[in-house]
Symmetry: D2
Subunit: 481 residues, 4 copies
């Protein structure tokens, strides 16, 4: 069934047999547990805004296989314009819910698989691309949303997969049968797995010949026996909401995802032993996903600009020169991040069967910049908003008849601004930037989509260094180097 509305999406999650744990207990229905509800909401939002007429062309696309209308986050990009629309869609969604903007994992992995399965089929005469197309038809026909498990738990990080004391610290094939493969291992911080229709699994790094068994990619249902998910710690219950909690509405559901001898039928296996292609697959996935950040992180900055500007107004200092200066810093960050994505889309190349790939240098330059600048942006927001963001009383005190008069009187800001608005705004800032959720966003800005160091490696790998050296050789009349 084609899932079109958020109601249909929510319904599709009900009654599933998932093995999910959180807070020491098993979660039975993700649509009803306070820890997973914000994650359900985040994906539901993606279906919702795809229904809005004025966003139709942005949030939906035409399948290159069937011509049918599908969600933008199910569409394999064929052109620069497709890539551009993806980051516009990401910015659009993320302006309401940052995590929703980022939730393109599925299509990012599918786009990478479209290329690598094609190349393997061409090079090795193995039917990976045929399988992939069959899977994609099913996926688009139902307009599904998927999570992607990438980062293995890695154990001792300076050892390669096959060098680990425990061979299970990277996901690997432990048995092959006529029907399929059996895999074992665990992936860390899989975002959204409990609220996904599908879980796509890809290797986390380039591999060598003796890591052959670790070269495995596949897609499974979250209900597959042997699959276990343990959620991140954290109470999202908001006893103190002041009417506008971000963390209670939209948030990331992160799991440690365990594959305890999980069986995958061959028609859902997209790589099995072809270690030479593992690095390319994960790099392509990373490129696609980092490209999404251009939209989602620009939107996150838009929110931070909005809160900073409102905080300055509410405090009566919107005209202060140093505040204007700091707002310009945030604006510059937002626009450079987004511009990197636009330029990467415009300079896309095609690969495999004609899939469009954003320019990797610009993609990584922008993603890396967004990670570093995010901490600066928090500093600017806190600097402008002031200490009350973390020291003000909470909702219960505001609601109490004993203390409300004092809070109303003394936490009043600029003329015309109701005290409750100022409290809500500061609470919103705290929730987004100086809380459990804020801490998650900070770490996510660095490690989501790969680390700062991985991005630098990618920039160096793809920048035309020989061209730059050639310019200098010509100008300085050099014969070597």
């Amino acid at each position: 069934m084609f899932i079109e509305t958020s109601a249909q999406y929510r319904q599709s999650l009900v009654g599933r047999q998932l093995e999910i744990y959180a807070g020491g207990e098993r979660i039975t229905e993700v649509t009803q547990h306070p820890l997973t509800i914000p994650g359900v909401n985040a994906i539901a939002l993606l279906y919702d805004i795809a229904q809005e007429p004025e966003l139709d062309a942005l949030m939906n696309a035409r399948s290159h296989l069937t011509g049918a209308k599908i969600h933008r986050y199910s569409h394999i990009p064929q052109t620069s314009d497709d890539l551009l629309k993806k980051i516009q869609a990401s910015r659009q969604a993320a302006e309401i819910s940052p995590i929703s903007g980022l939730a393109s994992w599925g299509v990012d992995a599918l786009s990478a698989l479209s290329i690598v399965t094609y190349e393997m089929q061409q090079d090795l005469d193995l039917p990976y691309y045929d399988r992939f197309l069959q899977y994609l038809r099913h996926y688009q026909a139902d307009n599904l949303w998927s999570a992607v498990a990438v980062t293995d738990v890695k154990g001792d990080r300076h050892l390669r997969p096959s060098e680990q004391e425990d061979p299970d610290l990277y996901v690997h094939v432990v048995e092959k049968t006529d029907k399929g493969v059996v895999v074992r291992g665990a992936k860390a911080h899989t975002t959204g797995a409990p609220v996904a229709h599908e879980l796509i699994v890809v290797p986390t790094r380039a591999l060598r010949a003796n890591d052959k068994d670790y070269a495995v990619a596949f897609a499974i249902s979250p209900e597959t026996p042997g699959l276990k998910m343990i959620c991140r710690a954290g109470s999202l219950a908001q006893e103190d909401s002041l009417d506008a909690p971000m963390s209670g509405r939209f948030s990331l559901v992160e799991t440690l995802t365990i594959f305890e001898d999980v069986f995958v039928p061959w028609e859902r296996v997209f790589m099995c032993g072809e270690w030479q292609y593992a690095g390319r697959l994960v790099e392509l996935f990373a490129t696609y996903h980092r490209h999404t950040y251009a939209g989602a992180k620009a939107a996150m900055l838009d929110l931070l600009i909005g809160v900073a500007a409102l905080a300055a107004e509410y405090n009566g200092v919107a005209d202060a020169r140093h505040i204007q200066d700091k707002l310009a810093d945030l604006i510059q960050a937002a626009e450079l991040i987004y511009a990197a994505g636009v330029a990467a889309a415009l300079e896309a190349t095609t690969a495999g069967p004609g899939t469009a790939v954003p320019d990797p240098v610009k993609t990584n330059a922008g993603k890396n910049f967004s990670g570093v600048k995010f901490y600066d942006a928090l500093r600017v927001v806190h600097d402008i908003a002031g200490g009350l963001v973390v020291t003000m009383p909470g909702e219960a005190d505001y609601r109490s008849p004993v203390t409300q008069p004092y809070i109303e009187k003394y936490l009043k800001g600029a003329k015309g601004v109701p005290t409750i608005d100022r409290l809500k705004l500061f609470k919103f800032i705290r929730d987004l930037t100086a809380s459990d959720l804020g801490g998650m966003w900070m770490v996510e800005s660095l490690h989501g989509g790969g680390s700062l160091e991985a991005e630098k490696i990618a920039m160096r790998a793809h920048y035309p260094l020989e061209h730059a050296k050639g310019l200098v050789r010509a100008l300085a009349h050099l014969t070597s180097g």
Copy 2:
């Protein structure tokens, strides 16, 4: 009674009639409420370490009035060495509990008052310094600890106190009698008031003649009728401790502190109408308190260096070149912050009755640097530690027999490191840097002791700019400027 041990300190807080609110209810005993216990602990620690023989010379001093042994945080600094010992004491305490290291507000305000009351007595023939000395004798005789209320709620910040629509948005004198004064208003983010013996109140800014009524400084007991404290929002209960919560043990208790027609007897009034001295008093207080940051923030960096180094080891990547590089960044930050305090102590001047004042340019340079670098330091720690800091399962899952085996197996790091150690470390990092507590520390790093902008103003005001211009005039043979 001279309060010497932490037990005596805790006892001194019991049975007091305070009007404190939190979470919509009144707190009756601060030693027993989960929101204030971490604050009690933070001050108790200061008494505890002053009892350790090897720290005696550091954590205690000899009163310049009586020669009696008193706590370092009750001693008016007389020499560079006193100032140096204060930042060493601060670093010492903060290496266990950052907030304890910072908790020098009381002595910082008293040091500033020692100078300004002396100057007012000299200039205006008013008995402020006599009163101050009498108060100080009592304070040191009991070895008290005090909170300081500085930051008025301010309303519309671009208006001066007397220009506000509501005259109460800065604390001011509403009545004078033979016995004393009556004050009204509110102060934001007073740290530690519910767990203090005394509350010292000073103006928050320089004043003009028509703000005369706002020029008021005094000391009162937290039990004084009309004084109300509303605590910051936030649950410090740690359902997920992994045995080592920072936030549950030591934290800041911040209050919105309301003065509802509070009576202060004359012997406790240290300024009343002398608006010309208000700016000097708050600037001196700020200088003293920002100087403390040199110790406490260096210690905070020491902790961050420690967690980053351990995380790298636990992950098996301690030797990675980029990690070594990032550790050097943290080390440099810690040492420059501390060095600024050392140099400020060494270049101290004396003022008023002989009180030593740290050099304001270096003091502010270091404090400002610490505020900006703190966000960078968080980024480095998160970068090194990795995403598990925010995505790992919590204690309940670890304790559950169903999930523990998976967590034990799959979150194992480098050889020889028990998984539980890795979990505890990551939990500690999360608690300190990516949580409600972490958010508080971020904002505190910017706004505690005054904003970045206030520090820049102080640097400019005290740097010998004419000397610098003179050097250039001489070298470039200029006649003007």
Copy 3:
């Protein structure tokens, strides 16, 4: 005559009656004076590369007026693609000669004039756009290159034009006749005026009604009587070239440009008294010109990446991890700067008669970033290349038979690299980054096209702040602000 080749360009400069001064003397032929030759070369290069077949589509365009082929730097942009090609052309030229890449002043001013003259004609029924079109036809027919005089000398900068003690510190109209206007004043740092065919003059800032006389824009020949140019100080003679001087080949010719009662006929006057349009004209010019920086500054970074990579190789340390890390920094800077330009082109709007205008937020974000990062980039290059860049012996010592053997032996680097290559490379780095030319480039990176502060103002002015605030109001349920 249509100027097509560099030889024709050089010829077009011969025998002109210019009043140019440098080093206390008058320059008679700019094609033969060591101070202006590098400037002639820089523009000649633009004609040269437009002749290369593979660059034809990039460096040339079709006039939107006549359809004739003209130089890219004479073409009024009609589309995003035109804007994109302009920054590609800029990067292309600047990879050989940074100043050539930047030399789009003329077309940037003409593009701005196309819009503002059109708007004035529409709004005020004055024949400015007709005049402009007539002038543009002539300009494109001869394929000219022009300099632009913008920055008035300004006197006391906190005073507006009409408030200055000396009314001549901004260029203004002193007389109007039937035939035209007489202007007086001076413009600072006009780049390329002595080697231009035309000099276009525009106001430097927004104006008020009482600054009416300062609202003047026009185009004149550099030979116009009363026009005087005094060149920047600096000897570009390279006694020490090691065969590859940058500064001796391509450089900026900057002049203080004086208008001593210069007569301008009406057909070349494009604004005269319409003070309401002055700000728009200069802002549009700035936007166009700052957009060019996306190409030229990325190319400058490409050169710096090239020299850094070669220096590392020549020193035998290309594989050092910290050097790889620093190269990634330079790459990121280059790509973000360029990406801002690409995105600004893609998000262009049209104005006036249909002229394409790059997005001002992204344009200014990129330009500002390039100014700040340039100094960082110099630090990285110097860090990698090492001290010999400034301490090595010069060409004369290398050529001397007495010292050459020592230099050959002792300044040898990695195996296979001739010592002379290493010397040339270091000399090239010194010339480009640590010399009179290097100093010029530094200051140019900040002030060329407008200051950092001006760019921040432009970012704030054009960023959709109300949209960002609206997002927050919706999410946090706010009613005000």
Copy 4:
């Protein structure tokens, strides 16, 4: 003869038989050659200011050997106060001439030698410390000034000394006789050798057993046969002075210093084969010399603050908020750099015979910070001063009666500032920051006293990392790491 006055110093340089080359020719008298005069002046200044009565206690000290008064830059530091005075002396001298402030190489090498020769004599029973003391008595008796040759030319930098294809790329012993040793090799960028009385030579890095022959330290006269110096390229002649050239007055004389089988008598040999001590010697030297930067670089910043403040005044914008903000940045940099030196002095330890050693973590933290911030400081100065710094006409045009009236009129700044003052100031800024000299200072800020990377290594090596980890282990209850 005790050299007391600058006249005596200048006289001491006359008539020496040095083999110095510059510009392809041999320099016969350093006191008369335009390239070496600024270097003579820089050292002469050190003698001059030591004669000023009010600087006597700062610029002079009492020899710990004889009690006689000697120059501060000849005194082996015995106490924290000695180290503190050294950086104060450095700041004092550098405020007139930055290079003079840095010129402590000699005493820095002697201080390091005092420790290492002592340790070698203690450990190995070799008479190095006896020789050193004898040499030091002679040195202090004549109040000499010396240059130090440290950085070997290094060839392929990823190879160790004995691994190089040409064994001469690090200075080494090629012969030992009864009378002494013969050394061969070359050192890069030796500062001040042509104007020194003595040249002290030390290894450039830690060595291994097979690099034994490279473990050599000694002192020789610049007149020693076989010693050849080739000066850095660069014309310091200032045809365009506007009365106040920095580069023409005080500058660095850098040489490639060649040891062509130079004989050194045993009494001047301080290490010969003891490879285990080479690393310690060079690290101690680096620590002493980097400590000097705390004074000299703070002074450099003082000058930059002075020029920025004057430029703002001369332009009429001293009150602009963004300029105030930027000045605060420069002030903060100056004070943190200096504070690091003060704290390093205060936390000095003693080594060897009782020589005081500044704390290496703080020393390196400050030095590294100064290198990075210097480029930022240049950006700030250029930002404030404006483009005229590099585009204004020169002295010849100012002196020419034809152009002077225009320059006088049009380059006028704020009321009351003579145009000539503004020109001189801008020329001074250009000379110091955007010229050949400016380029040298930039590179010097990074590489003088060792590279950024070397400083990071030193910080990590000396920071008490185990202490920091221990704090975390205790707080988080960890058992490992």
